[in-house]
Symmetry: C2
Subunit: 214 residues, 2 copies
Amino acid sequence: VTSSPALLLDLDGTLVDSVILHTLAWTRALEEAGTSVPMSRVQPLIGMGGPQLLDEVIGRDAPEVERAHGELFEKLRREVRPLPGAAELLQHARAAGLHVYVVTSSKPSDAEFLLGLLPGPSVDGVVHGDDVSRTKPYPDLFQVAVDRWGLDRDQCLSVGDSQWDVQAARQAGLRGVGVLTGGTPAERLFSAGAVAVYRSCRDLAEAPLAAGRR
Amino acid sequence: VTSSPALLLDLDGTLVDSVILHTLAWTRALEEAGTSVPMSRVQPLIGMGGPQLLDEVIGRDAPEVERAHGELFEKLRREVRPLPGAAELLQHARAAGLHVYVVTSSKPSDAEFLLGLLPGPSVDGVVHGDDVSRTKPYPDLFQVAVDRWGLDRDQCLSVGDSQWDVQAARQAGLRGVGVLTGGTPAERLFSAGAVAVYRSCRDLAEAPLAAGRR
């Protein structure tokens, strides 16, 4: 077990501005399958993995809709931009001696593409949707991270923009911090158990990093 | 002054599912002009007119960005769908003897196109962004409606998905009801002065319509 503190960062809506484009891709994919769903119903579900999202919306997994979302998002993802302060957060965390990992429900190819948008040093590791059978809000992604890198739960801080991040982290025994850059209101993040909510990664980067410094 | 009660309905995010596509069009337009803005910053501003939105984001009006947004949204608007219950709300309101007007910051061509997505009887009238120099959150659009159709303010109920609708209605002396279909959280609608918040137009359509029945 490593003694150094670690940040476990969500990707979509936390480091990169992709929530609305994911929402559009899911809505288009569902419509292609004959299901018309209001975008305001889909948007709060971004951050879940595909099977969990589809279970919420249509009550079952639907591999063909997942596949369509993947193709549609691949066309849209060139429009994704890094969120303000994302690169600074990585730099500051590294300078402060933290390990930095990304824990995302996304597919490996999307995660790789989106992380490539961030300048600066790469992260220490990535856990993605293909590493587990149940993505967020289940704790499995975080449990893989803890096991794979031998993390001390008390020295970890999870950062994410949705209640699915916070719920998954809590269920894995980790403290979770929220950011508002995915559009989820602060109240919902606190209700899910966030210990704090920052406006953005920029504000978190500029705050004293308290991970593991209980 | 007419004695019959009236519904004053917002369009984008209230009757049709266009908030995310407007967000995308504005973000693309701003980026074309060299300004990168997080989508979560733009989305809560939808419902304002273009000049007001641009003043919030870049501190000034920018006709070239407005024009670009107009062209980009025109390409996206074929993807807009009616929101659940929108057509039913119009039908129920008509059946209950209410007049139904649309009060929108949008341009006339977009308003016409989007209203055309709704089946059933057309509305009694539309006030749009070109009718005023200051759109929502200023009260001007509602004041035009009151004057043009000789409405009794106490007999009117405004319905909208954003705090800009609620603020504008209140400043014009009208009661405002919020709906969640544009993604604005209920708390923000209540803070702006909403007398009630419904999940969607469907829920409002199924509730006893109390407009003007004080």
